[in-house]
Subunit: 701 residues, 2 copies
C-alpha cells in the first residue's frame, strides 16, 4: 500500500513540475500541415497553392553573391529529389530566368558571414509564383530553407501553399558543437551535419579540436602535435579549409576550440616540457580521469601557444577562438613546487592562476585579431570584458556574465550527448519570461549552442544523437519565445527529421543497420517496435555504469535507441489527451497501440533468443507486455465507470517498479503513461482532468 501511495505521489509530483503549455501560434496554423522548423516569426496562410512542375525555375535579382546562386541550385536539386520531377532548369546563375520565374529571389547585398548580420527575409507565395526578398545573402539562405520545408503533396501533385512569411532570428548565435577529439569524426560526418544545421538555420559550428584523447588539426608549425598526439586521425589543413568553405557556403561560421590549460594530454604527448607534472604522457584511451594541464609558470608555454594560435588564427577566418578553460582541477599546479613558488605572493588561488593564464592567452589571441570564448570557469575576477562566456554548468553564470559586461552563450540544458528528450532543450529558454535584465544587458546573451560530446558515439551513431533534437533547439534559438507547444513541436520534428535524412544524415537509417547487425537478420521489425518505445538512460548514467574506451564497440541496443522514441512520444500524447478528454477515438488509438505491443512480443522473443547481445533487453520486452496488459485492464475499468479495486492497483506496483528498471542501458518510456491510466481507473470516472500535463518518464534519470 505504501508503494502504491508512492506511485500516486510520484505521479502527482510529475504533474506539478510539468512545464506550462504556451501557444503563440494560432491553432489554424498548427493544423495547416506546414512542417516548418524553426517556426517563422510571422506566418499568414492564404488560399491557393503554387504547383511544382517541370517548368519550375528560379531567378535571382539584386546583388546576391555566389552563396545565393549555389543555395538556389541546391534548392532545385532538393525539390527534384523530393518530388521526382526533373526541372528544365538545372543550375541557377546570374542570367537564369527572369521576372517571369516561378521563384524570384531578390537580395540587396551578398552580406558578410558574421554574427549580427541581417538574417531576415520575406517570402510571398501565391498560386502564380513566389518572391523571396532579403536584405543580404544570409537572409536569402535562411528563406530558401523555409521555401524547401513548405513543399507538400497530395494526390493532385506537389505544391507549396500560398503563404506570407516575415522572419528573422531571435538570437544571433545558434550553435552546434561537435567534439571531434574523443571520437574523431571524419570530414563527411562534418559535411552532412553542416547540411543539417543549414536546414534548421543554425549558424555556428563549434569544433572541439583537442582533448586528452587527441588533437585533431594539423599544425604546420608543430607537426608533432598530430604526429604524436592524434593516433593518425585529424583534419589536414586542406580538409579544414574545405570544411570552413563548405560551412561558409551555407552561411555557417566555424569556431575552433583548443581546450586549455587542462584537458591537455594530446599536446603534452609531444611537449611534456610544457606540462605541470613530469611526463611521459600518453593519449588517453579512456574518458574522464585526471586532467593534466600546461605549466602556466613556464614562459615557454606562452611562446609555444603564441605561435600555435597565430597559425590557427590565420587558418580559421572566424573572429573567435575558443580556448576551453574548463575542468582544471588545479591538482597538478598545487603539487608542483615551482608553480607554487611562481604564484607567490600575488596569485592567491589556482583559479586566479588560471585567470592569469587565460589573460595572457587572450592578449596574444586578441593581438591576432580574434576574440576569445571560454567555458564558464573562466568567468573570474580580472577576466577581460571582451571574453565571451559559454555557460555549461548552469544558467547562473549566463546572467552573472552579462551583468559583468561579457557576452554569453547558453549551453547548459542543450547537451545532446545526455540524451534527454528534445522537449527538454526545446523548453530551455536562454531568457525565460520574467528574467530581470536590462535591454542592453539582455542583448549580450548572444544565443545558445547544442553540445555533442563524443565519449559514446562513433561516426555511424553520432547523427542519431544530434538529430532531430538539435532542430528543436534551433527553433528555441530562432523562433519567437511564445512558440513552445511541445506536442506541435514533436509533430513537426518528426516531419523535419525525414527531411534531414534526405541530406544524407544517418539518424534514421543507421538504426536499422545496428538492429540488423545485432540480430544477424534482415527482418528486424519486431525489434524496432521495442526500440521505438525505449530510449537510452539519460545524463551520465551510461558512462558511470561501463568502462568505456575509444575502442568500445558502441553497437548495442542503447546505441540504436534514441532520445526521442516516437511510439512512446505518440502514446504519451494520446494518454495525455485521453486523461483530459476521454473520448472513444483516443481510447481506440491507445488500445490499438497496447494490443500491438502485446501482439509483437512472440516475434520479438524469437528474434532476441539467438542473439546473446540482445539478451540484456529481455526484461524490457517483458515489461512492455505486462504494462500493455495493465493498460488494457485500466481502460476496461474506466469503460465500466466504476473505480477500479484498490487490490488490483496494489498488484500493479511491482510491475511498475520492474518496468522502471533500466536494462541494457535503456529504459521503457511508456511507463508513466500507463500509470496515468491506472490512476484514472482508480478514480473511476471519465471526467476530464484539466490540470493534466505531458509526462515523459523522467523517473530515475
Amino acid at each position: 500500500m505504501a508503494k502504491l501511495i508512492l506511485v500516486v505521489f510520484a505521479f502527482a509530483l510529475s504533474l506539478a513540475s510539468a512545464p506550462a503549455s504556451a501557444e503563440g501560434v494560432p491553432t489554424s496554423l498548427q493544423q495547416s500541415g506546414m512542417n516548418l522548423m524553426p517556426w517563422p516569426a510571422h506566418v499568414r496562410l492564404h488560399e491557393g497553392r503554387l504547383a511544382l512542375t517541370q517548368q519550375f525555375d528560379i531567378a535571382v535579382t539584386g546583388h546576391p553573391g555566389q552563396r545565393v546562386y549555389d543555395a538556389a541550385t541546391r534548392l532545385l536539386q532538393s525539390l527534384q529529389r523530393r518530388s521526382g520531377i526533373e526541372f528544365d532548369q538545372h543550375v541557377v546563375k546570374a542570367r537564369s530566368g527572369g521576372e517571369q520565374a516561378e521563384l524570384v529571389i531578390d537580395v540587396r547585398r551578398p552580406g558578410v558571414l558574421k554574427l549580427g548580420e541581417d538574417e531576415s527575409y520575406r517570402l510571398l507565395i501565391d498560386s502564380g509564383h513566389a518572391v523571396l526578398t532579403a536584405e543580404d545573402g544570409l537572409g536569402a539562405l535562411r528563406g530558401l530553407q523555409t521555401f524547401l520545408q513548405l513543399l507538400q503533396s497530395d494526390p493532385n501533385g506537389y505544391y507549396l501553399p500560398a503563404v506570407e512569411i516575415r522572419d528573422q532570428p531571435r538570437f544571433e548565435w545558434r550553435g552546434l558543437m561537435i567534439d571531434v577529439a574523443r571520437h574523431f569524426q571524419p570530414v563527411d560526418v562534418i559535411e552532412r551535419n553542416i547540411r543539417g544545421m543549414a536546414a534548421v538555420k543554425l549558424n555556428v559550428l563549434h569544433l572541439h579540436l583537442s582533448d586528452n584523447q587527441g588533437l585533431r588539426i594539423q599544425s604546420n608549425v608543430f607537426p608533432e602535435l598530430t604526429g604524436l598526439g592524434s593516433n593518425g586521425q585529424y583534419y589536414t589543413q586542406t580538409q579544414i579549409k574545405h570544411i570552413i568553405q563548405y560551412a561558409d557556403d551555407r552561411g555557417i561560421i566555424v569556431v575552433p576550440e583548443f581546450d586549455l590549460p587542462a584537458h591537455a594530454v594530446s599536446w603534452l604527448v609531444s611537449h611534456p616540457e610544457l606540462a605541470s607534472a613530469p611526463g611521459p604522457y600518453h593519449l588517453y584511451t579512456r574518458f574522464g580521469g585526471k586532467n593534466p594541464a600546461f605549466d602556466p609558470s613556464n614562459p615557454e608555454t606562452y611562446r609555444f601557444l603564441g605561435r600555435f594560435f597565430k597559425e590557427m588564427a590565420n587558418l580559421f577566418p572566424a573572429p573567435y577562438i575558443h580556448i576551453g578553460g574548463d575542468e582544471n582541477s588545479g591538482a597538478q599546479w598545487s603539487n608542483n613546487p615551482a608553480i607554487q613558488a611562481y604564484m607567490q605572493p600575488a596569485i592567491t588561488s589556482n583559479a586566479a592562476l588560471q585567470t592569469q593564464f587565460i589573460q595572457k592567452l587572450a592578449a596574444m589571441i586578441t593581438a591576432d585579431g580574434k576574440q576569445i570564448i571560454g567555458w564558464d570557469e573562466i568567468l573570474q575576477p580580472g577576466l577581460e570584458k571582451g571574453a565571451i562566456i559559454q555557460s555549461w554548468r548552469g544558467k547562473e553564470s549566463l546572467y552573472q556574465a552579462v551583468r559583468e559586461g561579457h557576452r554569453t552563450i547558453l549551453s547548459n540544458g542543450y547537451y545532446l550527448d545526455l540524451l534527454y528528450p528534445a522537449s527538454d532543450g526545446y523548453l530551455n529558454d536562454p531568457i525565460p519570461p520574467g528574467t530581470h535584465l536590462g535591454r542592453s544587458t539582455r542583448r549580450n546573451i548572444l544565443g545558445g549552442e547544442a553540445e555533442m560530446w563524443s565519449e559514446l558515439v562513433r561516426p555511424e551513431t553520432i547523427d542519431s544523437r544530434i538529430w532531430p533534437s538539435a532542430a528543436a533547439i534551433a527553433e528555441r534559438l530562432w523562433s519567437p519565445q511564445d512558440v513552445r507547444d511541445v506536442a506541435w513541436m514533436y509533430k513537426r520534428l518528426r516531419a523535419v527529421n525525414l527531411q534531414l535524412e534526405g541530406l544524407c544524415l544517418t539518424q534514421i537509417r543507421n538504426q536499422g543497420v545496428l538492429l540488423r547487425q545485432l540480430t544477424g537478420q534482415r527482418e528486424v521489425e519486431s525489434l524496432r517496435v521495442l526500440v521505438d518505445v525505449i530510449s537510452p538512460v539519460r545524463g551520465y548514467q551510461r558512462m558511470a555504469s561501463g568502462d568505456y574506451t575509444i575502442y568500445s564497440p558502441l553497437a548495442s541496443i542503447t546505441d540504436a535507441a534514441t532520445a526521442n522514441p516516437w511510439a512512446a512520444i505518440q502514446f504519451n500524447e494520446w494518454v495525455d489527451r485521453f486523461v483530459q478528454h476521454p473520448d472513444p477515438d483516443t481510447e481506440q488509438q491507445i488500445r490499438a497501440q497496447l494490443e500491438q505491443w502485446i501482439a509483437n512480443d512472440p516475434a520479438l522473443e524469437t528474434l532476441i533468443q539467438p542473439s546473446p547481445a540482445l539478451h540484456p533487453v529481455k526484461p524490457l520486452a517483458q515489461s512492455l507486455v505486462t504494462l500493455s496488459r495493465l493498460g488494457l485492464q485500466a481502460l476496461d475499468y474506466i469503460d465500466q465507470k466504476q473505480p477500479a479495486p484498490q487490490a488490483w492497483a496494489r498488484q500493479t506496483t511491482t510491475d511498475f517498479l520492474q518496468a522502471r528498471e533500466p536494462a541494457a542501458a535503456t529504459k521503457l518510456r511508456m511507463v508513466d503513461a500507463v500509470e496515468r491510466l491506472v490512476v484514472m481507473a482508480l478514480k473511476g470516472d471519465r471526467s476530464s482532468e484539466t490540470d493534466a500535463e505531458h509526462g515523459d518518464d523522467r523517473d530515475g534519470d
Copy 2:
C-alpha cells in the same frame, strides 16, 4: 486461346533455357549455416566450436608486414561490433599475444601487392584456438575475411565452428570497376566499396577516371584538365594517394583508366586544339551521343598524352594503365580531311588508325614502366602482345585474344549497372566447362571484373547496384568452378549482404531513405513489401525510355528497387520446390506469402495515394494482388487434384500480360512463378516435375 498458348509456350521456353544446376559442395556443408562467400576451395567441418569471449586475442608470428597487423586490428573491431563484446586486446602489434593467443596468424613474408602473388591460406579452428597460416600477407588478409565470416551465434553465445579450410583463388584478377566520370563518386564512396571488395576477396579496383562528363583526377602538369573539364568534382592527388593506400592496406590494386581516343570531351574542353573536329567543347550533361576523339594525326596529341601519362604513371603504383579504346565511331576522323590525308596511303581504316594511336600510346606507357589494358575494340591486327584485353562486348574476344597471345579479363556478363539478378553474373564462367583452350593459353585469362557504369547512379544509390551482386561475381572468380548452386548462393548472399552493410555500405539502409522521401512518411513497410518483389527493368531499357542528365534526381521507385528482390527470389524458390515436390509445408509458405501480398494492399494504396511520385507504380500494386489471388486459386485447384478448367486459365491471360508490363521502370518478379502454379493447376496432379527449374521473370527484359 492463342494468348494462353503463348503464355504456356513462353513458360516452356524459360524452362528450356534455364541453367543446369551443378553442386560441387556436399549438402551437409550447404546446411551447416556457414555463410562463407566466396566459398573456399576446401572446407571440412568438425565437431566443436571456438567461443568468442572478452579474452579473445590475436598474435602474429613470422614476417607478416604492416598490412596483416592492421587487418588483424580491424578484425578485432569487426568482431566486437558484431558481438557487442569488448575485448581486452584492442590493437594487434608485433608483440601482441603469444602462442597462447586464441587466434595465431603465421605468415612467412609480407608479400607484394601484385597479380599472381600467393593468396592462399589455411585456417584451422578447434574448440581451443584458431591458427591461420599463409605464405604471404595477402593470403593472410584473405583468410582473416573468412575468419570473420565464420562468426555465428546461438542462445549460448557467439562462436566460430571448428573447421579446417584450405583456400586459394581460381583467378588472379578479381576486379570491380567504378565509373567515377559520369556521376562522380566522392572518396568515402570509394573507401566503403574498397571495404566491401576486401570482404569478398576482390583484389582490383579499376577507376574509370575520364569520360565525356568529366575528368576526375587532378593533374599538376595540366591543371586545366580538371579546372575546365570536371565541373569541380575530382580527386586531388592527395585524395587519390589516400585511396591507393587505403586499397593497398586491404590487398587491393588500383588501376586507373583514361578513356581514349574517343569519350574525350572532358579533355577537349581545355584542349580543343587536340580534337579531331573544331571546338569549343562543353562537358556533356547527357549520356550517349557522339564520342569526340583526339586527333591521332597531330603530333601535339602524343606530346600532351606522353606528359600526362608520365605523371599518372608516377602517381599510380600499379603496373597497369587502362587506356580505354572503346566506342570510337571514327566519324570525326572520317570527316576531317587532314586526318584522311594523314592516313594515306598506309592506314586503310579508322580501326587501323586507332590501332596506330594505341600503339603509340602503348610505347610511351611501356616506357613509363606500365602495361596497357584496353576494351576489346583495341584487339586489332598489329596490337602489341603485352596489351591486356578487357572483353565487354562478348566472350568471343576473350578467347580470340588469348589465342593471339594476349592476356584477358572478362567483363561481358558482369555489368552491374544493367541490373540483371546476381545469379546471372554468378553463372557467367570465364572458362565454362568444355572450353577448348590449351593450358598456357587458359592461364592468360586473368579473371573477370564487375563493371559499375554510373549514368543512373548517385553516391546514395551506387552501393545498391554494386552489392550484393558483386559478391556473387567474386565467388565466381575465386571459388572452384563447380560451386554454382544458385539457391545456396542466394542464401549465403543474403547473409553476406548484412555483413557488407556493417562496413558502412549503404545498399540496404538507403532503400529506406528513398522510400521515406518518396512518401514523406516514416512508416513505409507496406511499400517495402512491394519493392521487395519488383526490380528495375534490365539492360538499357531505362536509359532508352528517359532523357536522363547528370542532374536527374534518380530518386524514384526504380532507384529504390534492386536487382535482387528477396521476397521474389524466395517465392520463386518455394514455387520451384513445390512444382518439383508438392509438399504441404512448401504450399503453406507459398500461400502465406500470397496472402501477405493481398493483405498488404490496402495500406500500400493508402501510402501511394498522396504521393504523386508513386502513382506510376499503381499498376504493379494491382497486379501483385491480382496474381496473388490467381496463385491461391491455382493452389486450390491443385489441392482438389483435378485439372483446372481451361476457361479459368484463359481468363488469366490478360492478368499475366498486364503483370508483365513494366511500370515506373520496374517490373514484378513473381509473375513466372505464379504462372507455373497455373500451369501446374491445369495439369491437375501433384506429381513431381523433375525437369523443372528456376524461373526468374526474364521475359521482356
